[in-house]
Subunit: 268 residues, 3 copies
């Protein structure tokens, strides 16, 4: 039995991929939910990417074509937005722009569950979710409770591998340890901090960071692993300086902005 | 004449109710306005609740039934959202899920004023607003200026008592001193800090916290009082460490996350 | 050749205009994009204004009439919102309420580009954008990349002067040095910090601050210059105390809240 490789911020390839984001500032289109727009944009800016959010069905096609990476996150989707997301996914796929699907709370709610299943047909490069969401999207029996996972990341690994094989996407299962697989290779990313679950948008921001990395990485697997490792180490460092959940969120952005910044971010 | 009882964080019942939120992490559905989504979710997470926001008319019915508590806040409502709010309120009522109505800026603007009056028919457990909003919802003459109150909390107490009696809801009037009444008992909650009016979403977050507490408290009166007392003491403590309005908002979340955390929130 | 006058926080007129905002707390209606709602409201509260956001087409007309200043920012506009923005602009103009147009990402995307060109007909008092956006709105050839400018502020000055003359608006071009013109006078506002480009919503917040200042200033030129000078000095002071991009955003609000506060903001 082969040992599962583990990757962290200590890996040179992870550092190199983040450095490419800072050098190229990829335009990253985030069609994300209304709870995390601001935090997502600030997380991408901290990492050196150029975030943008366009929701109009009249504009998403043009924008998907010029973006370096796209995120579709169904967290607060309504029917008109679902239609614009379908167009976004189709046009990203047609234009060759790699994109990330974040199936927030899929499983328990019908509109988003049907939508996510349909969006998979437009070939996301990465699908990122917690264990319950990946289990649900894979068609397995999942018990979802709102937006939080009731399934451990490990339980969802088999479902993730199957989903990766059936869709061609890299599947990233977020949890205490993240699991990322392209259907063959399975990479674990340890680290992080429980405080990451006490601030809204850390998972959604992780999906956005994957979209930015898709524009500069050698493979979707590398992109998903780098983003997970960046969030894990930044979460650890932020927890070391935070006083509570409010200052943890601020410190998380600080740590991402300072991470591998070369030349260092000029502050003060 | 009976003295009005006053309750604060010093009361064991208040501490106990917040502890129940931390222990049970009630799923709290916030159909709230677009200005405060992120802050509201982070405030609930700081208190130990599990926030979720669903806006699709196709999903709100299912979600209201599984949530422990629901908030409907009309702050940035549009006509399609109003319809989804009506469904949310009806389904919460039908499912026995207690819910909070926050009639932001009701009085001066027609769509929300008509909507709020209609929503009251779905029997909110708590109605929370500032003095002007409660006066307007009670049909009294109120002078509203945007979203800020021009009526003191005290002036609105009579209107609050009448509104509570006519609707069956507990009515909470936020102000320098909060007033909470079920139509018979009137409880005051002193404390807080003027800085709470210099950060957007503290009142809206208070309504959300009441929705979380409805899932675990013995009565809507207890839920409204506990939430008010938590925000008041956290506001005082945050003001003691803040440098300006930006760091006050961060410290407010910190203080809520640290409040009565047992075991203490592990940081650093 | 006349030297271009330069104005900063060191100018008494700038200090006086901000003091008027603190004294009068003008109701400022922000029809802004979904990424920056919270930050915009907090920035206005830090400056002493009274922010409000109303998006319903049934309510914007009434609200534009009672507001002291209005902002229309097309950053995340959809077709239904575009219609409500048209009503907002027409009613603000009809009611004599001065308003600011922020043409975010105009040039590259059709819905907003057509909309912004149409909105100009309702006579904004100020048009604020980065170099690419002003060039695009002026009909000049601009190369836009998402929401970030690829044109320097200086390059856009000629276009700004032409746009000011043809529309009657003051045009403010944000950049490393801000340029503000009414078509005749050109004022530069130096200062600020590159970190202002690493946090989302600083430009959008600047437009909102201009809307608040329109309610109290002697002229749109004064309003645009004062807002630019306030953001510049607050950005410098925030950069001096920030640890990364997260704490910079928090410190920026702190510094605005402390700026010229008389009596000083009571904290702690």
């Amino acid at each position: 039995m082969t040992a599962t490789p583990s990757r962290t911020w200590a890996d040179a390839s992870v550092v190199a991929d983040l450095a490419r984001v800072r050098a190229q500032a990829p335009l990253t289109h985030c069609f994300t939910n209304l709870v995390v727009t601001n935090f997502t944009a600030n997380l991408l800016l901290a990492a050196g990417a150029s975030p943008a959010m366009v929701f109009a069905i009249e504009e998403v096609a043009d924008f998907a074509a010029i973006a370096g990476g796209v995120l579709i996150n169904v967290g607060t989707v309504t029917a008109p937005e679902a239609e614009a997301m379908r167009v976004t996914a189709r046009c990203a796929h047609a234009a060759g722009t790699p994109w990330v699907l974040d199936p927030v709370a899929v499983g328990g709610l019908k509109l988003r569950t049907d939508l996510a299943a349909e969006l998979v047909g437009s070939r996301p490069a990465i699908i990122r979710g917690n264990g319950s969401e990946i289990l649900a999207l894979a068609g397995a029996a999942a018990t979802a409770k709102g937006v939080d996972s009731t399934a451990g990341a490990e339980e969802a690994v088999d479902a993730a591998r199957g989903l990766a094989r059936s869709t061609g996407a890299v599947v990233a299962v977020s949890g205490a340890v993240d699991h990322v697989t392209d259907g063959e290779t399975l990479v674990t990313v340890p680290g992080g901090d429980p405080l990451l679950t006490r601030v809204t948008g850390t998972g959604c921001g992780l999906g956005a960071l994957m979209a930015a990395l898709l524009a500069v990485s050698d493979s979707p697997l590398d992109a998903a692993v780098c983003a997970s490792a960046v969030l894990a180490v930044a979460g650890e460092r932020a927890a070391a300086v935070a006083r509570g959940t409010g200052s943890f969120a601020v410190a998380l952005l600080d740590e991402i902005s300072l991470l591998g910044s070369d030349p260092p971010l000029e502050i003060g």
